[in-house]
Amino acid sequence: MIKEILKNIFSKKRVIPFPEGFNVSPTQVAKIVDFQKKVDTIFGRSLRIRQIDAGSCNACEWECTALTNPIYDIQRFGIDFVASPRHADMLLVTGPVSRQMEFALKRTTIATPEPRLVVACGDCAKDGGIYKGSYAVANGVGNVIPVDAVIPGCPPTPTAIILALSEIIDKVAR
């Protein structure tokens, strides 16, 4: 126990950009480093995200969870995932929106106080992805609720999500 804690304190942090072979281009690194400022500009340096699975395959969820691990550690930017939409500033929706989740998705959107952002995360959320055309999906979040931004990828890697978030916040700032 104590050993672990001490190790944690004194070992060097493994946050991105990684030392070991991970493909982040210097420009992207620059973006991430510059990301903090953007979070600052809008939402007063604090962004609380409510993630909604609208029928994804669960890969996107795991990537969102990975955002909170010590390596990506999104909390250091002042971004956090919250338990109730009442506490949230941004809805991060994944999945092609299965018909049986549409209602719940709308309910959650209503429950979120303004000002709020809706972000579609993943190819499925963009336009239904591989599930496009299936009878049981609405082919993307955009067909159910107004979407402010889209994060492509199947699933988008944590790095990709962070970069995308930075751009989204850029866009909103403008």
């Binding site: 126990m1 804690i5 190790k7 944690n8 304190i9 070992s11 942090k13 493994r14 946050v15 939402f43 007063g44 340096r45 604090s46 609380r48 010590p70 550690d73 909390q75 250091r76 930017f77 002042g78 995932f81 919250v82 338990a83 109730s84 009442r86 506490h87 500033d89 429950a111 979120t112 106080p113 303004e114 000002p115």
Partner: protein, 314 residues
């Protein structure tokens, strides 16, 4: 030069309002370090509060006035409590407003209304949170009173600043009664402020929540007030501990220099307390809800031993 006590009073409340979120930020920071993470800024809680104030309120359709009134009341109580506990000086006009028992009662009325607000909307989670909160509170109260009893035996008073004065004169912390009382007080603080192993303030699992479950419906400025108030509650329990167990450094009267020194000393003590708290929170897993009986039972036992050791050893 001497400052007017009233100004010290106002200073104190200002310190409470400003430092409390930073204290929470500090705890988060240390926790991150212990978990091998890069921490958010020390002022992150502040940013969250400010952000929340700028957001709209989304209110449940069937919310009654109790739901809307509670955040203000809870906030108000925390602020007043800040004027009672000696933080920067022991000579406070308001410190006579309530002794420890009344102080605890003030916190319990805040809890009373929070629980009601939880039940107001009529969701299962609100009721669940309320039921758990009140259960834990009713087990914590006796232990708290015993701790107060033990300390007041040494301090010859139940008014906080008086206790602080008397104890700061006796130059040793190592009075058995105080040591046991301190142990009890730490356990009680963990329970009252909803920290691990009693409650997990950072949990995302609604079924395990206690305090969070009651405020799931709050948003915007209401949420800001409630979160701010609970940060202040943590801070207040910390300074209450300081005043009644390690009051050294708090000046007897509001002399300008010593007040400034007191502020520094306070920050150091708080930093220390934060580390201790995080050690407990990182080391332990959350216990089953019915284990809390034993947890607070041992707190009660410590306090009783403290009291008895006063009669026998001192």
């Amino acid at each position: 030069m001497n400052i007017d006590p009233l100004i010290v009073e106002i200073l104190q409340i200002a310190v409470l309002l400003i430092v409390a979120p930073v204290f929470t930020g500090w705890i988060k920071m240390v926790k991150c370090w212990f978990q091998g993470r890069t921490s958010p800024s020390l002022f992150q809680p502040w940013r969250d509060i400010v952000k929340l104030f700028s957001k709209d309120v989304t209110l449940a359709e069937n919310a009654s006035w109790i739901f809307r009134f509670t955040p203000y009341l809870v906030f108000g109580i925390s602020v007043m409590a800040g004027g009672i506990i000696p933080i920067l000086s022991m000579d406070l006009p308001l410190s006579a407003m309530a002794d420890v028992i009344a102080l605890v009662a003030l916190f319990s009325i805040a809890r009373f209304f929070t629980a009601l607000a939880g039940m107001d909307i009529g969701t299962a989670f609100g009721g669940m949170g309320a039921s758990r909160e009140m259960t834990i509170a009713s087990l914590a109260e006796p232990a708290m009173l015993m701790a107060v009893f033990a300390v007041s035996l040494v301090g010859k008073s139940t008014s906080v600043s008086q206790m602080a004065i008397v104890i700061s004169q006796g130059h040793s912390l190592l009075r058995p009664s105080l040591v046991f009382a301190l142990l009890a007080f730490i356990l009680i603080t963990l329970a009252e402020t909803g920290r691990v192993p009693v409650d997990n303030p950072a949990t995302h699992l609604e079924l395990t929540m206690i305090h969070e479950a009651m405020i799931l419906e709050y948003s915007g400025r209401h949420l800001a007030l409630i979160e701010w108030a609970s940060m202040m509650k943590l801070f207040l329990f910390a300074v209450l501990g300081i005043a009644s167990f390690v009051p050294w450094g708090i000046p007897r009267n509001g002399e300008l220099l010593s007040v400034a020194v007191a502020l520094l000393v306070l920050l150091f003590k708080l930093a220390g307390i934060g580390v201790v708290l995080v050690l407990i929170e990182t080391g332990l897993a959350k216990m089953r809800i019915f284990r809390i009986t034993e947890f607070l039972g041992s707190a009660f036992l410590f306090a009783t031993i403290g009291m008895m050791s006063y009669f026998m050893l001192e």
